[in-house]
Symmetry: C2
Subunit: 143 residues, 2 copies
DNA sequence: TATTGTTATACTCTATAACTATA
DNA sequence: TATAGTTATAGAGTATAACAATA
């Protein structure tokens, strides 16, 4: 399913517009990932490896359990998209790095995930600024 | 993990704002669902059952395979949140209906999913209108 | 024959608990 | 003893292929 998050009978027009946008974004992300043989979670992790990351950092950023990250990274590693290297400063810790193959595949995925780019392209510079302001204000302290 | 969809190194401020918003929305949805013992997919299906739906309609709306819907609905049914009824007009088809228990639980979930409501509440009426206009325009033909 | 839905299967995501290695 | 990460396990989401029931 493209979008686990379903409509919540949004009661206002603004809430409905937010939902529709999130829904479309999530679906587009999943489709782009699968076109490259990636699950959304794999694409997500790969995207965070522009610089090396510890397992614990990934778990923290993704808001999930470390054991989960272990599995996702193991699958990436088995396909030569990422590697685990022991951190010499603290041999308990591992640095996860993207392989060249992983970087190349991720670049293709990014190119293919046209949603946000296309969405922005429908707005002129002033409208984009307005949207940024409104989205940030709407988020407020929700983040 | 709250949000399978990760950041895609958004190259513009607008793209980053879109991502941050989607990310926060998805995480909030998942947390609200899990507070009521629901997976995001279960909450999503439950939300679509304000009126009876055929399996094929649910699969179409969710953009996933029918066999997937069979499983989700089976889990809802096993917890007395939904029921499958043979459609007398076409006995191949089933009408999925929410039980009273399912409706009640979903109402609680909805109440608890405060994200969109809170986001909208940070904007005044004019700003909400602006946001709707911009989001719809950004979506353009992407939907 | 075509359609609706299910079953069997396999893979991925996810968390919890118990574990290993290192600090 | 505390921390980083892994392993074992189990439940859920997902798709494909084969199937049953009905049209």
């Amino acid at each position: 399913m493209a979008v686990p998050s379903g409509p919540v009978s949004p009661s206002t027009e603004a809430e409905r517009a937010m939902f529709d946008f999130v829904d479309a974004y999530d679906r587009a992300y999943e489709i782009a990932a699968s076109r490259h043989g990636l699950s959304p979670a794999q694409a997500c992790v790969l995207g965070r490896l522009s610089a090396p990351r510890a397992m614990s950092e990934l778990a923290e950023e993704l808001g999930c359990d470390a054991s989960n990250v272990t599995q996702i990274v193991a699958r990436l590693e088995s396909r030569d998209l990422a590697r685990r290297q022991v951190n010499p400063q603290d041999r308990r810790s591992r640095q996860i790095v993207r392989t060249d193959h992983g970087s190349s595949l991720y670049a293709q995925f990014e190119e293919s995930f046209a949603f946000a780019r296309a969405a922005a392209s429908h707005l002129d510079a002033g409208e984009q600024e307005q949207l940024v302001t409104l989205l940030r204000k709407a988020l407020g302290s929700l983040t």
